[in-house]
């Protein structure tokens, strides 16, 4: 009897599990990591109105997540210099796999599913050789590590894909070592060379964009892809804090980089720091957030500054409808465009640096 029941269970599992889709996780539109009042960390799924659909506990502070394009699976990364990531089944809230960075590597907090979700790629720091790599993990093999390739720069951070499968990597340019200063101390500020690296679907370097020499301390960290594969990148300035430098870059393959700025007073108020970047849901504009400056700056795709929205500690940003969804460290989730309107406020929930829009729902 019990054998028969186990057999049925196994049969059900075999047939049902592969069919799970994001609908089984409540069809979340966004994922975000947060710390609660008990000091516990979790990954949350949010619907289109920013209401919480599920909560999946995480073993440590997260940074960003990678969502599978079709299966209700998200990979949550420990913040740098974390050496593990966990695969969360968002339908059950359970951790199904744990990814450990190989010896001499650590994760940077971001990752991306490629090849229709067959592979996961993870920007990593190879600190022995002082270079950036992408770890490649095979989902069908239970997230086994199957290889790694160069990112052609130090300190790779965010990674995105263009519509043709070309990968874009933000090489932040900053070298850290896990055994020095808790792994977050910046060790090469004077020699930084951040870059934007375009890799083919087979990981060959196709184009590398570097900034002018006077901006070599402007760390390219986060990415967003707009209509027609326009790449927008957010930067964090490691140089003299009184220098006014651009914090957003706009680029298309084969063209010059554009580095727009707000007017001087607004630019100064960003405090040399952009934490997240996203295109508006309708692709009509792009924005960066500065939690330190307590504001979001909006730009047109041609670089025209469109205005600032003020909100303390704002950081997470994702495309939503014709505007954005933003999150802050005070528990608020806000609809943003010219102004802001709160959608959800959970006191005591500190949203972490990033919100992730589910790829299936982004145009």
């Amino acid at each position: 009897m019990s054998t028969r029941r186990n057999f049925l269970k196994a049969a059900l599992a075999a047939t049902l599990v592969p069919r799970l889709s994001w609908a089984d996780a409540g069809s979340p539109a966004f994922l975000g990591a947060a710390k609660d009042t008990n000091g516990d960390y979790a990954l949350y799924g949010l619907d289109e109105t920013a209401q919480i659909l599920f909560r999946a506990p995480l073993p440590a502070r997260g940074h960003a997540a990678a969502a599978h394009p079709t299966k209700p699976e998200a990979v949550a990364f420990a913040r740098r210099p974390g050496t593990f990531a966990v695969v969360v089944n968002c339908a059950t809230g359970k951790i199904t796999h744990r990814l450990d960075a190989p010896e001499g590597r650590h994760f940077m907090g971001h990752g991306l599913f490629v090849n229709e979700g067959a592979l996961l790629v993870t920007p990593e720091n190879n600190y022995a050789e002082k270079k950036g790599v992408l770890g490649i993990w095979d989902r069908a093999k239970g997230y086994a590590r199957v290889g790694e390739v160069a990112t052609h720069g130090i300190g790779p951070h965010d990674i995105r894909a263009l519509s043709d499968g070309t990968l874009v990597v933000a090489n932040g340019g900053i070298f850290t070592h896990p055994e020095i200063g808790e792994g977050r101390q910046k060790l090469n500020i004077d020699e930084m060379e951040p870059s934007l690296a375009y890799l083919s679907a087979s990981f060959a370097l196709e184009e590398k964009v570097v900034l002018a020499p006077e901006l070599h301390q402007n760390s390219i960290r986060h990415l967003a892809i707009g209509p027609d594969d326009q790449v927008a990148f957010a930067m964090q300035w490691e140089g003299d804090e009184m220098e006014l430098v651009p914090l957003i870059g706009l680029h298309r393959r084969g063209e010059e980089v554009r580095l727009p700025e707000a007017e001087m007073g607004e630019q100064y108020a960003m405090k040399g720091y952009a934490g997240s970047i996203a295109f508006a849901g309708d692709g009509s504009e792009v924005a960066i957030t500065s939690p330190r400056g307590g504001r979001m700056h909006r730009f047109a795709p041609d670089g025209t500054f469109l205005g600032a929205v003020l909100r303390g500690d704002i950081c997470g940003l994702a495309p939503m409808r014709e505007g954005y969804l933003g999150s802050d460290g005070f528990g608020a989730l806000l609809a943003l465009k010219e102004g802001m309107s709160p959608l959800n406020a959970v006191p005591g929930l500190a949203w972490d640096n990033h919100l992730v829009a589910l790829p299936s729902l982004v145009g």
Binding site: K35, H63, R79, R80, G109, R221, Q236, D240, M242, E243, E263, M264, G265, E266, Y268, A269, Y273, G275, P291, R292, G294, L310, R311, G312, D313, I314, C315, D328, G329, F330, A332, P342, A345, P347, A350, W351, D352, N353
Partner: protein, 340 residues
């Protein structure tokens, strides 16, 4: 019509300006906004009006300097509130462009004066002039620096000085209006989510914002007003002291500490004996320097004395966290203090 007016009035009154059941946090918010922020924006408006009037009558440095000090004193009572109307339209930098690490102010002033730039002719044009020729620090060069202060009545420089003081008062008046208006920033803080122009969703957030201003202003004094002139032991940089030309470096530290103390007293839900002690000690140490422009940073003993003030500010910030932040349940932002 009279009936209509009366109805409007009673409706306006029915909107609670102070909460019905005031918690310690509500009370702290009400005190900080009404007794700290509103007097501060008002004083800056009055002081800059005085400065503009004095300068209008006689633009020469000897005449303007006392009013300059009055206006700068008032700014030191307000500059820590990096919020709402004060940080709108880049006003903070337009009022106080410091530190000017690249020497933009003297270079830009020289250019304007050499070109007799017509931007001084109308307030509207001057409001769009480079921030390097506007505000208290451009004015300091004009009034106190040998390169600029020898101008005559009715000269281009005289008109420039008048334009700067007028522009300062224009910004101060705008800040005051935007702060105290019925739908202004004071209400944004007091009414939080219910405000006509909401920015903070809850009163906790409003208090959090004010508390952040308190701590970040002290940190800024330590890192900039103290940190810049002391430089490193091997390379002190007294020439980097804030407002050293007008001999206000020490005074600005004292006034900033006093402004922070006033905000702290209004925010504190109870007594704050350790913070009071630390404020008193830090202010006394600063007064005892007797070194208006921090020139003493150039020698090891003088430098040490200034450095010790910075260390006392660190202690003070810890006390404030225990006596204000903890009992009110507020702390610095999660993302702003620790990014990636």
């Amino acid at each position: 019509m009279r009936y209509f007016t009366a109805l409007c009035f009673s409706l306006a009154l029915s909107v609670p300006l102070v909460p019905a059941m005031a918690t310690p946090l509500d009370e702290a918010l009400s005190r900080a906004v009404n007794q700290h922020t509103i007097p501060a924006v008002d004083r800056f408006d009055v002081a800059t009006a005085f400065l503009a009037d004095v300068t209008e009558a006689n633009c020469l440095p000897g005449n303007v300097k006392p009013a300059y000090d009055v206006a700068f004193d008032a700014w030191m009572g307000l500059q820590h509130l990096h919020m709402g109307p004060i940080e709108k339209n880049g006003r903070i930098l337009a009022i106080a462009f410091w530190p000017d690490k690249k020497g933009m102010i003297p270079r830009t002033l020289s250019g304007y004066i050499a070109d007799q730039d017509p931007v001084v002719e109308t307030p509207e044009a001057f409001a769009d002039a480079s921030i390097a020729v506007r505000g208290l620090f451009a004015l300091e060069y004009m009034l106190f620096d040998d390169q600029f202060d020898g101008y005559a009545e009715d000269s281009y420089s005289c008109h420039l000085v008048q334009a700067i003081t007028h522009d300062l008062h224009r910004m101060a008046a705008e800040i005051k209006e935007e702060w105290i208006a019925p739908d202004g920033f004071a209400q944004t803080l007091l009414m939080a989510g219910e405000a006509p122009q909401p920015l903070y969703l809850t009163k906790e957030e409003s208090v959090q914002a004010l508390y952040t201003m308190l701590l970040s202003s002290l940190e800024n004094t330590k890192d900039q007003r103290i940190g810049r002139p002391i430089g490193t032991f091997d390379k002190p940089r007294p020439e980097r002291a804030e407002a050293r030309r007008s001999g206000r470096s020490e005074r600005n530290v004292i006034l900033q500490l006093e402004a922070a103390r006033d905000l702290a007293r209004n925010l504190a839900p109870g007594e704050m004996p350790l913070s009071e002690e630390a404020f008193a000690k830090t202010i006394a140490l600063t007064e005892a320097l007797n070194d208006p422009s921090f020139a003493g940073a150039g020698d090891p003993m003088g430098r040490l004395k200034i450095e010790i003030i910075g260390q006392n500010i660190t202690t003070l910030m810890g006390n404030l966290a225990n006596e204000i932040g903890a009992p009110l349940g507020v702390a610095a932002g999660f993302n702003s203090s620790d990014g990636d």
